[in-house]
């Protein structure tokens, strides 16, 4: 069981040096790096960061103190999307080097070294708590409602004047689709796009659910990992995923003692909390690991982080999109839309998930998949990163939104809550009529169409 990161692996300077020498400075990473694209500054590029790291561990002059400051700054501005690793022909393990440096040198741990500007620490510390996020999400709805009434459609722009991080946080929360919780809203919205009217039947419109056929053979056992953001911000989506899994024959269990995967704690420089969360999840899923139950995580960010726990989790955890793509899903109705899929970096670069979401979309009748330019480039969300560098993050979000809008798509889908909020926010500025939804929601709707039409 090895964790690639230095929290459990020891890395000496010589080893780092060896890894670093794999970089031939060819520069092919540049156009894949979101921060280079946004700034045009090579210090903000993978090659630039590695050159600084090289200077730090094998100083060519006496000015290492300055180099280390510059290095800290440059690495702090790295989103950690890992697009450079996918692009690198020499296989430079960029993330490993980034974290490895922290162990090998005297430089203080980076992620805790620099404060997140403007966003109050109290808010940030609770960002990985489901209940708090649920609360925030409702606050976001409220704020959006109030702001729209008070400031009209310009509320976004007006918020730019507030303390950067906080304004951005409120804005992102306000950008999440309202369909995240309400089935009625979701169906209404997609019906509108498709030009049809689906009658929702069966009790509360908010809990339509998919019917699980009795005759289904017993499918794989699934231990469901909720994820704090999905559970808190997109509870409806989370439920719809479970609906889909069940309707495909999965036997679902949800270990109660699970907690946040710890990604956010790592990103915000709280390694202690991250380790604590990791320990708790290890306990919660110990049973699943031993009896071969698949651990399915909903958000790409969570599945990626869980896989970093070690080899057992790397083989035991399956991203929800990959899981769905391997199942016999319930029959789907026709959704005659042009749909663009946005690849979350956690999926594309972190786990090599590229074909699976497209396969799922291709299974929906009448749907046309359109590919945006630069699908490998990060949307600039980056979890807490976007709150630390709001301007850069905004620019990247808009860039991504423009690429997606240029496809002529009717709808954008993705599979990570961070990307969802970020791109929704960018689209509000670039293409306000182009909606974005979780992939799960679209699949659920397509399945619902068939069930709906088969009901009396």
């Amino acid at each position: 069981m090895t964790d690639p990161r230095p929290s459990s692996a020891v890395m000496d300077v010589d080893h780092l040096d060896e890894l670093l020498r794999q970089c031939v400075q060819c520069g092919l990473c540049l156009p894949h790096c979101a921060t280079w694209l946004a700034t045009g500054n090579e210090v903000q590029s993978p090659r630039g960061r590695l050159l600084l790291l090289g200077e730090l561990i094998r100083p060519s002059d006496t000015n290492t103190a300055a180099a280390s400051d510059a290095f800290l700054q440059a690495f702090d501005q790295c989103i950690g999307c890992r697009a450079c690793e996918t692009a690198c022909p020499s296989g430079v393990p960029f993330t490993l080097l980034e974290y490895g440096q922290l162990r090998a040198t005297e430089v203080p741990p980076l992620r805790s070294g620099l404060p997140v500007p403007a966003v109050p620490g109290a808010v940030l510390r609770r960002m990985d708590q489901t209940a708090f996020l649920g609360f925030l999400s409702r606050v976001g709805d409220l704020v959006r409602g109030v702001l729209t009434v008070v400031a009209g459609k310009t509320w976004r722009r007006r918020l730019a004047g507030g303390p950067a991080g906080t304004g951005r946080l409120v804005r992102l929360l306000g950008s999440l689709p309202t369909s995240a919780r309400s089935d009625t809203e979701l169906v209404k919205m997609l019906d509108g796009l498709c030009g049809r009217e689906t009658q929702l039947v069966g009790g509360s419109p908010n809990f339509v659910g998919l019917e699980i056929p009795d005759h289904l053979p017993s499918g794989p056992g699934v231990a469901f990992f909720r994820g704090c953001a999905n559970a808190g911000l997109l509870p409806g989506t989370s439920r719809r995923l479970r609906d889909l899994l069940s309707a495909s024959g999965c036997r679902l269990e949800e270990p109660g003692s699970q907690d946040c995967c710890g990604a956010l704690a790592t990103h915000t420089g709280r390694p202690g909390r991250a380790a604590d969360l990791r320990r708790r999840n290890r306990e919660a899923f110990a049973g699943a690991l031993t009896d071969g139950t698949v651990i399915v995580a909903e958000a790409a960010g969570c599945s990626h982080e869980l896989k970093e726990y070690g080899d057992d989790f790397r083989t035991g955890v399956v991203d929800a999109v990959v899981m769905l793509a391997g199942l016999d899903l319930p029959p789907m109705g026709s959704v005659p839309l042009k749909v663009a899929y946005h690849d979350p970096c956690h999926a594309r670069h972190g786990q090599g998930i590229i074909d699976e979401p497209r396969k799922l979309l291709a299974a929906i009748g009448g749907l046309e998949i359109v590919e945006p330019a630069e699908p490998e480039v990060c949307c600039g969300s980056g979890g807490a990163w976007g709150l630390r560098y709001p301007e850069l993050s905004d620019e990247l979000g808009r860039r991504k939104a423009a690429d997606l809008a240029a496809t002529g798509a009717d709808l954008v889908v993705t599979s990570n809550p961070g990307c969802l909020g970020q791109i929704a926010d960018g689209l509000q500025v670039i293409a306000p009529d182009l909606p974005i939804l979780p992939l799960t929601d679209l699949l659920w709707y397509a399945a619902l169409l068939r069930i709906d039409s088969s009901r009396p």
Partner: protein, 807 residues
């Protein structure tokens, strides 16, 4: 007098900050460290700062300020260069173009787009893809390399075999000189005559000026593409196969190769599942019309097997094809897996010398005890041996560099060049004198002094020291001298072009310039000489695929006004060793130097020529629309055998003649005929005849009127017995000219009214034309000083605009 700014860089920095704003000027240690390097692993020092202008005016003001302060300026794209061209010395200002990324609209009719230098190579093709077009130069770094960098280095790439290098895809450039002046190369079309500043700037590595925007040519995406992958148990055989492919008259778009060491690295990196027990893997690609591609593939497969290929497979679909290319294009980066350091080389030899050089490299490898992994642009005779070493081991390091120098000597012994596409930079400064003659080096230094007298533009690059001990002058050919294995021909300036072409065509090759008389007595450019072709840039009525003789001229011997004979270029298909005097002088008349001899590339000759005459209806407006559509169709035709042309009948303007070279197969000319009938209705006359009998229909009467060179969008005219010609030009054609090429307008006396107009060119029997005056924006002061450099005593022809004071 001490310069206040130079004494005190803070004053310069605050001046720069005023121009660029805080975010446009990086002065911190991190930036100075990162921008001290590029992909070459070479360093000179630490730059003063890094400027990232966001528009062209900022860039020019920054350059002007640095010139005033005497601070060197090093222009940088994305730092993917391999010769250290973008590496700054101590205290220089790096000017990065990464924020100059504007893309103009794609002109799909003229197949052009104007872009800023920071746009990435791949980005241009992505931008043009909706119009079915792409930018042909494709260096392996194309996903990251900028257009500005491509121009500075005259970048190549696998598909340059068919389409030519970056230079051949430039229409014109806007640039800043050392003073920050906004200048133009003034070339509306690539067949324009005059001293060609585009050829001079392209490949000058930022030492003469900074390109601020470029008008690029685009080419059509092919209808069909097929890619063959062949594995060879023997490296010699593989090199021989590459020579054989082209020698057989096949016209592949790319012939690429990797040796076993490189194949192993690529396999380790990407796991394609290629066999690794072979000595070489070769990619051969054909593009064009499906039937032609299928036939070529079949012939090529048989040929590759005959040359010892163990296995030849064809990519089944587009994704497999993309995988193959990924293997080739990422090979360079994958060497990071083989050794911590390597000398990256870029030698190029005449095609037929490739197998010999490959054998010699094996000997050098053994003699110096080094590991070498090589990628080949085999069809171009260009190879990139990477000599591995570990810089921590001084002995290994010394042996690697000695081996590299031995490889360069071996290439030069075979009449090659030290660099085909990577540039001189600082990396090849010590070997350049082995190749360049004294007089050539003196002229190159002279040009640098004219453009940049203070030596502030990328100093220390490209030019070896004056006392470096240059090579002896290469003897010029005494008669027409064919090198069939190399697919080149050398000839003295007074050799008959018709005779050269006839001899070439007997072997199935020619210099594809349509000017050429097919026999001495009839047709175009009769009685003309090789020297005339080069000096006057004679262009034919469009039976040339890519444009002009500039695209096929490889090597030039010429004499300056004061009688110094110099030699420029090399008999190789790609060459960026120093400034490109060959193409700069091609088409410049006899104002700067007298051509004495030249070497050209030979291309396969078309098999037949189709000829159709269609009636034009009398409605003028309808004519224009139909001719527009016809012109667009013809421009999009695959030009591998020569572009088709249309000629509006000179006498009545009531009919249009279309001629197209092609293969002697039912599917080739029949396809064109079908398309033409769809556009123009039934022809009144149709002929198909062997290409070497083309002169039978290319009569004076036919070509005497109108020709639209479809591949270059150039209007050519000759009006027999008509001085002004105004009554002769049908209104419909006048409109067509206005609509299609607004920069080339009609005039009764075009050669004097419109600079750069080259009417009358293609059939100028003994006619001597006045040299064109430069267009507005072209720096006449530079041209005047160039005249003094090349012709100090004024012994050669001197047009009026070159006389008098600087304007």
């Amino acid at each position: 007098m001490p310069d206040p700014i130079r004494e005190n860089p803070t004053a310069l920095l605050s001046g720069l900050r005023e121009i660029l704003g805080d975010k446009g000027l990086l002065t911190d240690d991190a930036a100075r460290l990162v921008y001290a390097r590029d992909a070459s692993h070479l360093t000179l020092g630490r730059p003063l700062a890094v400027a990232l202008p966001h528009d062209e005016s900022q860039l020019r003001r920054v350059v002007g300020l640095c010139r005033a302060a005497g601070v060197p300026v090093v222009c940088r794209g994305t730092g993917t260069g391999l010769s250290g061209g973008a590496v700054p010395g101590n205290g220089a200002l790096v000017v990065g173009t990464s924020r100059l990324t504007d893309l103009g609209p794609v002109d799909s009719l003229q197949r052009r787009v104007r872009v800023q230098p920071g746009v990435l190579n791949d980005g241009v093709s992505r931008h043009a893809s909706a119009s079915g077009l792409h930018f042909a130069p494709d260096p392996s770094s194309q996903s990251a390399a900028s257009i500005g960098g491509n121009i500075a280095e005259n970048a190549g790439g696998p598909h340059c075999l068919r389409h030519g290098v970056t230079l051949q895809h430039l229409v014109s450039l806007e640039w800043s000189d050392a003073d920050g002046r906004a200048l133009d190369t003034g070339r509306a079309v690539s067949v324009e005559r005059g001293l060609d500043l585009v050829s001079l700037l392209c490949g000058s590595e930022g030492t003469l000026g900074l390109v601020t925007s470029a008008d690029l040519k685009l080419v059509d995406n092919p209808a069909d593409v097929a890619t063959l992958l062949a594995f060879f148990p023997d490296l010699d055989d593989a090199a021989g196969a590459a020579v054989g492919l082209l020698g057989e008259g096949l016209a592949p778009v790319a012939v690429e190769m990797v040796d076993q060491a490189m194949l192993l690295a690529v396999e380790e990196a990407f796991g394609f599942g290629f066999p690794t027990d072979v000595a070489a893997a070769m990619i051969t690609e054909f593009a064009g019309q499906s039937e032609a591609v299928a036939e070529d593939c079949e012939r090529a497969s048989a040929l590759l097997r005959r040359h010892g290929a163990r296995e030849v497979r064809q990519a089944a679909d587009e994704s497999e094809r993309a995988e193959l290319w990924k293997c080739r294009k990422k090979a360079f980066g994958a060497v990071g897996r083989l050794a911590p350091n390597y000398v990256s080389m870029d030698v190029v030899v005449p095609l037929g010398e490739l197998p010999g050089l490959v054998r010699e490299i094996q000997v050098i490898k053994a003699r110096h005890g080094v590991e070498i992994a090589t990628t080949f642009h085999a069809g171009d005779g260009n190879l990139h041996p990477g000599v591995h070493y570990d810089e921590r081991d001084p002995d290994q390091s010394r042996r690697a560099h000695a081996a590299a120098d031995a490889i360069i000597r071996a290439a030069l012994d075979r009449d090659g060049s030290v660099t085909g596409e990577h540039g001189v930079g600082i990396e090849k400064l010590h070997v350049l004198p082995w190749q360049l003659g004294d007089e050539t080096a003196r002229l190159q230094r002279g040009i640098k002094e004219i453009f940049d007298p203070q030596d502030i533009l990328n100093p220390g690059k490209v030019h070896p020291p004056a006392d470096a001990g240059f090579a002896a002058l290469k003897p010029a050919p005494a008669g027409i001298d064919f090198h069939w294995a190399n697919l080149t021909v050398s000839a003295p300036a007074d050799a008959s072009l018709a005779q050269l072409q006839q001899s070439a065509m007997e072997r199935g090759f020619w210099i594809p310039v349509g000017t050429i008389a097919l026999d001495e007595g009839v047709g175009l450019g009769r009685g003309t000489t090789v020297g005339n072709l080069v000096a006057e840039l004679l262009t034919g009525p469009a039976l040339c695929p890519g444009g002009t003789v500039r695209d096929y001229l490889l090597e030039l011997w010429a004499e300056t006004g004061d009688g110094h004979l110099f030699h420029a270029g090399a008999p190789v298909f790609k060459n960026v060793a120093g400034y490109d005097l060959v193409h700069m002088l091609c088409g410049s008349g006899r104002v700067w130097a007298q051509p004495r001899a030249a070497t050209f590339q030979l291309r396969p000759v078309p098999e037949c020529l189709g000829y159709w005459r269609f009636p034009l209806p009398s409605d003028e407006l309808q004519d224009v629309a139909r001719l527009d559509r016809l012109a667009e169709y013809l421009a999009g035709r695959d030009g591998s055998l020569g572009g088709p042309m249309m000629i509006v009948d000179a006498q009545s303007a009531r009919s249009v003649v279309v001629m197209a070279p092609g293969r002697n197969r039912p599917w080739d000319l029949d396809r064109i005929e079908k398309d033409l009938v769809n556009l123009l209705g039934k022809p009144t006359e149709q002929i198909a005849l062997p290409f070497n009998r083309a002169s039978e229909i290319l009569t004076d009467e036919l070509i005497g009127g109108w020709a639209l060179n479809s591949s270059d969008w150039t209007f050519l005219s000759r009006l027999p017995g008509d001085e002004g010609g105004s009554n002769f030009w049908p209104a419909a054609m006048r409109r067509l000219i206005w609509q299609s090429t607004p920069r080339l307008v009609w005039s009764p006396d075009p050669t004097t009214t419109f600079p750069g107009w080259h009417a009358d060119r293609f059939c100028s029997e003994g006619l001597v034309l006045p040299p064109c005056a430069p267009a507005p924006g072209v720096p006449r002061d530079f041209l005047k000083r160039m005249k003094i450099l090349f012709d100090p005593s004024g012994a050669l022809e001197t047009p009026r605009w070159l006389e008098g004071q600087d304007d």
